[in-house]
């Protein structure tokens, strides 16, 4: 069991080897180190899963990191049911995406660098989920942020890519600021930042209030909301979602690994991990649920009209993350984590398929220039179709079970906003099905709309890329089967497994209500698929007419509700204006420059006078020093 340490440190070793030796020695063989390391982590993670299923959990410190007064932080590891699920998700996706990258990044000049960063990212993510205290969590949290920055800006000679990297970094800082304060508050309140004592004592502080900015605020609500700030940033929820679509500038495996399967789910993981705190505050839970619901609706509507294949999937990711928060917000943490787990598979698969399509289309991203790729790339088509069925919630696929559980628990749960978010969730299910199949139909069906050269270039991706697709596809279909609800004759094993950590919310509804909820979501899904088929296979003129008829709405959606422009107007431009006019114009030019230039001028003048003392003779200096000693001794004697 002690070999769990290998899980994070194998990728770290791979990172070090690659970054140190990659450029000159490994070169085109850099992937071996990383793949072997991550695959090794996967094997150990599976062994850990088996142990955990047998009921063994670990919570131990490796070594003391910081000790200062009563503030003590160790590098420590907590492995319980929640952690182990995350470990499986992270290592599985990471391994497959590493393999996929061999084909995708083939021939890139920064090959070793790419794999080094991927491994580093895996390390940080594993440190994040395996932490047993908030500071180590924060370390992993910032570590994945950093890697995300590296990888989004991987093509750093492209301005949009480096801008996107900076944007992701800066937007995340807003969230992390809150998260950081949240950790301070936790330390202030509990005197420790270890999970175990914090969660054990949390109940005792349930009714405390704290004076915050002049208001008496409910303590747990404050802490929960501050932590949630971090989640909002990392998981790209409203209003900090703007970085995720732009992050698609990075290589597609990165999008799949970081911006779909692992890093962005860190926010959900955080909320689930801190469920003992969140559960103490109804307000915080409501905020979480509403944020999730609104984000998912908001992102889904944008996804309807986008043309960039990766951005559609990116908005879909935001939307699905919203779903997970929605689940957490109604207290159904295990349902949220369940969705996280199934989502990782089908979303990674969607991204990798998109990558495969891009590979075939020589980097083309615009849906309107594709079409009819079905016959050129059958494997990609089939896997992407299955992934879309899964995300659309077609019964039997992974996405169905998780989504259904969320919707049922939202409907039946004790949350005051439960019914509302259920309604939103159902609408989003419909929209999700619609835009997912819009993507499939526009890409793979119909006639090819690109240039002749592109058509000539079309081909299926190499085996090293399609095999991970197939493996992920198995996950996208089957990963949900561990959580088949009792209603359908399953055992709901997933929820049972998670019970020791996340508890188990009881739905207060009848079986007929449960059937109703399930039926509604299935109908929503199928109608979405049907409508997409109608629009993009049968009557292709309808979308155009609709866009023309509802040009205002279309424009609003197409421009993503103008959020970027709004931020630009509200934050970016004032910041730049302040920097230019006040900081550069007044502070810098008038005040600092005056000091900076005046001081040396004064010193220069003064030193012109006293430089005569500097004769350049060593012995003069030594004599002066000796005279000083003489004077000091003499003074001491005379005193």
């Amino acid at each position: 069991m002690n070999n769990y340490l290998l899980i994070p440190f194998l990728p770290l070793a791979a990172f070090l080897i690659n970054i140190l030796l990659g450029r000159n020695f490994l070169k085109e063989k850099a992937h071996w180190v990383s793949i072997l390391a991550v695959a090794g982590s996967w094997v150990v993670a599976v062994m850990t899963l088996v142990d955990t299923m047998a009921g063994k959990t670990i919570n131990q410190d490796l070594y003391s990191w910081i000790v200062s007064g009563n503030f003590k932080v160790s590098v420590g590891f907590l492995i319980d049911q929640l952690t182990v699920v995350m470990l499986i998700v992270v290592t599985t996706c990471s391994t497959l995406i590493h393999i996929y990258s061999v084909g995708y990044m083939h021939g890139d000049k920064g090959y070793y660098r790419f794999f080094a960063y991927l491994s580093l990212f895996t390390f940080c993510m594993l440190m994040l989920v395996m932490a047993n205290n908030f500071l180590q969590l924060y370390f992993g949290w910032e570590g994945v942020g950093l890697c995300s920055y590296f990888l989004i800006g991987y093509y750093f000679d492209k301005k949009s890519a480096s801008d996107a990297g900076k944007k992701a970094f800066i937007v995340n800082r807003f969230g992390d600021f809150g998260f950081g304060i949240g950790i301070f508050m936790i330390f202030l309140t509990f005197g420790t930042i270890y999970y175990e004592p914090v969660f054990a004592q949390a109940g005792g502080f349930a009714n405390n209030t704290v004076n915050f900015l002049g208001y008496d605020v409910h303590l747990m609500t404050l802490i929960a909301l501050l932590l949630f700030c971090g989640s909002v940033g990392k998981s790209a929820q409203m209003p900090l979602h703007v970085w995720l679509p732009d992050a698609m500038e990075g290589p597609t495996p990165v999008s799949a690994l970081i911006h779909a399967a692992t890093m962005v789910t860190a926010g959900v993981f955080l909320v689930a991990r801190c469920s003992p705190i969140f559960s103490l505050s109804e307000t915080a839970l409501m905020v979480v649920a509403l944020t999730g619901a609104i984000t998912s609706l908001f992102a889904a509507t944008i996804g309807l009209v986008q043309n960039d294949i990766k951005r559609i999937i990116a908005y879909s990711t935001i939307s699905q993350l919203g779903y997970m928060f929605l689940a957490c917000g109604v207290g159904a943490y295990s349902a949220g984590v369940f969705h996280l787990y199934t989502h990782a598979f089908f979303k990674a698969l969607l991204f990798l398929c998109a990558g495969s399509v891009m590979h075939a289309m020589a980097g083309e991203l615009n849906l309107q220039k594709m079409g009819g790729l079905k016959k050129y790339m059958p494997v990609t088509y089939l896997t992407m179709l299955l992934a879309s069925l899964s995300i659309a919630g077609v019964p039997g696929f992974a996405g169905f079970f998780s989504k259904d559980e969320i919707l049922w628990l939202a409907y039946s749960g004790p949350s005051p906003v439960g019914k509302l978010v259920w309604a939103i969730g159902t609408v989003v299910a419909f929209l999700t099905a619609f835009y997912s199949f819009r993507l499939i139909f526009l890409t793979f069906h119909g006639k090819f709309r690109g240039t002749h050269e592109q058509e000539h270039h079309l081909h299926e991706s190499p085996k090293v890329m399609t095999i991970p697709l197939i493996l992920l596809c198995v996950g996208a279909i089957a990963s949900g089967w561990v959580g088949i609800p009792h209603l359908l004759g399953g055992g709901a094993h997933f929820t049972e497994f998670m019970k020791p950590v996340l508890g188990h919310p009881e739905g207060h509804g009848t079986h007929s209500e449960e059937w109703m909820v399930m039926a509604v979501s299935v109908i929503a899904g199928f109608s979405g698929i049907g409508l997409a088929a109608l629009f993009y296979l049968v009557r292709t003129d309808i979308p155009v007419k609709l866009a023309a008829g509802l040009s205002g709405v279309h424009k609003l959606l197409f421009n993503k509700y103008y959020v970027d422009e709004f931020y630009s107007f509200l934050i970016v431009r004032p910041a730049i204006w302040t920097a230019k006019n006040i900081l550069i114009g007044i502070t810098d030019a008038k005040i600092i420059e005056a000091i900076v230039n005046g001081v040396p001028k004064a010193i220069g003048g003064f030193s012109q006078v006293i430089r005569k003392v500097q004769t350049g003779f060593l012995q003069h200096y030594a004599t002066i020093m000796a005279t000083g000693i003489l004077i000091i001794i003499a003074l001491m004697l005379l005193r």
Partner: protein, 100 residues
């Protein structure tokens, strides 16, 4: 029995002669030797203290001083040789690049 004070006076005298040499000689090698003289002056008092206090720590210090002196001589003389190669003089008063 010779009083400890005598040793200390001897030590101080040797040390100050070293200081005098360092402060006044032109030749950089002699200056360097004056430094060694100062170290020896200190060593005398350390050994004397060690003897009179019956505590070997003073001699351990002497041991380290000799070590450092060896290192210092190696480096210092290498510097002198490098200096001599560039300036072909060993006179300190001809080296005043740092003059203000």
């Amino acid at each position: 029995m010779v009083p400890l004070n005598w040793y200390l006076m001897l030590s101080a005298t040797v040390f100050m002669i070293g200081v005098f040499g360092f402060l006044t000689r032109k030749n950089i090698i002699i200056m360097f030797m004056s430094v060694e003289l100062m170290l020896n002056g200190v060593n005398i008092s350390l050994v004397a203290f060690s003897h009179y206090l019956q505590d070997l720590r003073g001699q351990i210090l002497v041991f380290f001083i000799i070590t450092v002196a060896a290192a210092e001589a190696a480096i210092g003389l290498a510097i002198i040789i490098a200096l001599f190669r560039n300036k072909s003089t060993a006179h300190v008063d001809e080296m005043n690049e740092m003059k203000g």
